[in-house]
C-alpha cells in the first residue's frame, strides 16, 4: 500500500526567507503526488500536484515542489515565505489506478514576521 512520511511536525521560518516542507513517499508503480494546505477550521485546499513530466511543479500562492524519484521525495518549497503561509500542510500520494489517497501526518508551518 502507498504511504507518505512528513518527518517534521513543525517548521518555523522568518518572513521573507525560503521555506521547505519535506515529504517522502512509498508506492508501487508511478505515483500521483499532491500537496494540500489546511487553515484553521477549514477543509484541505489543493496546492499542487505531480503526475508526470517536469520534476519541478509550480502551484498556487507561489509554492512549488520538486519530485525526486531516486530519493522518493516531493518537498514543498517557496522562495520567500509570508506570514499568511502559516498553516498545516499535508503531502498525499495516490497510485495511478486507484482513488485511495494516503496523507502524511501534516507539518505545521509557522512564518514569523
Amino acid at each position: 500500500a502507498q504511504s507518505v512520511a512528513q518527518p517534521e511536525d513543525q517548521v518555523n521560518v522568518a518572513e521573507g526567507n525560503p521555506l521547505t516542507v519535506k515529504c517522502t513517499y512509498s508506492v508501487s508503480g508511478n505515483p500521483y503526488l499532491f500537496w494540500y494546505v489546511q487553515y484553521p477550521n477549514r477543509g484541505l485546499q489543493f496546492l499542487l500536484k505531480y503526475i508526470t513530466g517536469d520534476n519541478l511543479v509550480k502551484g498556487s500562492y507561489g509554492f512549488e515542489a520538486e519530485f525526486n524519484k531516486s530519493q522518493t521525495s516531493f518537498h514543498l518549497k517557496k522562495p520567500s515565505a509570508l506570514v499568511s503561509d502559516s498553516a498545516l500542510y499535508f503531502c498525499a500520494v495516490r497510485r495511478y489506478n486507484n482513488n485511495d489517497m494516503r496523507f502524511g501526518a501534516g507539518t505545521r508551518l509557522t512564518v514569523k514576521p
Partner: protein
C-alpha cells in the same frame, strides 16, 4: 469558484445513536469521497463512490458505515451506531474523474462529537 459544502458544521450525538453527515459535491464532479481526521492525527481515507456504488473503501469503513447519493446533489455518510472513537472531523471531497490525475476538492468538514 465552485465548492464542496458540508452540513452540519458540528454534530453532537449520544453514543449508540445513528448520525448522517451531508455533503453537496461540486456539480459536474462524478467521484465522491469521505475522509476523517481524528483530532491531532492524519487525514484518513474512508471510501470512494462512483456511479452509485462504492469503488474503494479502507479498513476503517466497516459495517457501521454506509454512503448514499439519495438524489442528484447530496452525498451522505451514515454511521449506524456511533462509538466514542468515531469523534473526528469528517471531510467530503469530490473530483471530476477518479483513478486519474485530477485533484480532489474538499469541503470544510463536519466536526462529529460523540458523548
Amino acid at each position: 469558484e465552485p465548492e464542496v459544502t458540508q452540513t452540519p458544521s458540528h454534530q453532537v450525538t449520544q453514543m449508540g445513536q445513528e448520525v448522517i453527515l451531508r455533503c453537496v459535491p461540486i456539480s459536474n464532479h462524478l467521484y465522491f469521497y469521505w475522509y476523517r481526521q481524528i483530532l491531532g492525527q492524519k487525514v484518513e481515507f474512508l471510501v470512494s463512490f462512483y456511479n452509485n456504488e462504492i469503488s474503494e473503501k479502507s479498513e476503517i469503513f466497516d459495517d457501521q458505515f454506509s454512503v448514499e447519493r439519495p438524489d442528484g446533489s447530496n452525498f451522505t455518510l451514515k454511521i449506524r451506531s456511533t462509538k466514542l472513537e468515531d469523534s473526528a472531523m469528517y471531510f467530503c471531497a469530490s473530483s471530476e474523474v477518479g483513478r486519474g490525475n485530477q485533484p480532489q476538492h474538499f469541503g470544510d468538514g463536519t466536526r462529529l462529537s460523540i458523548l
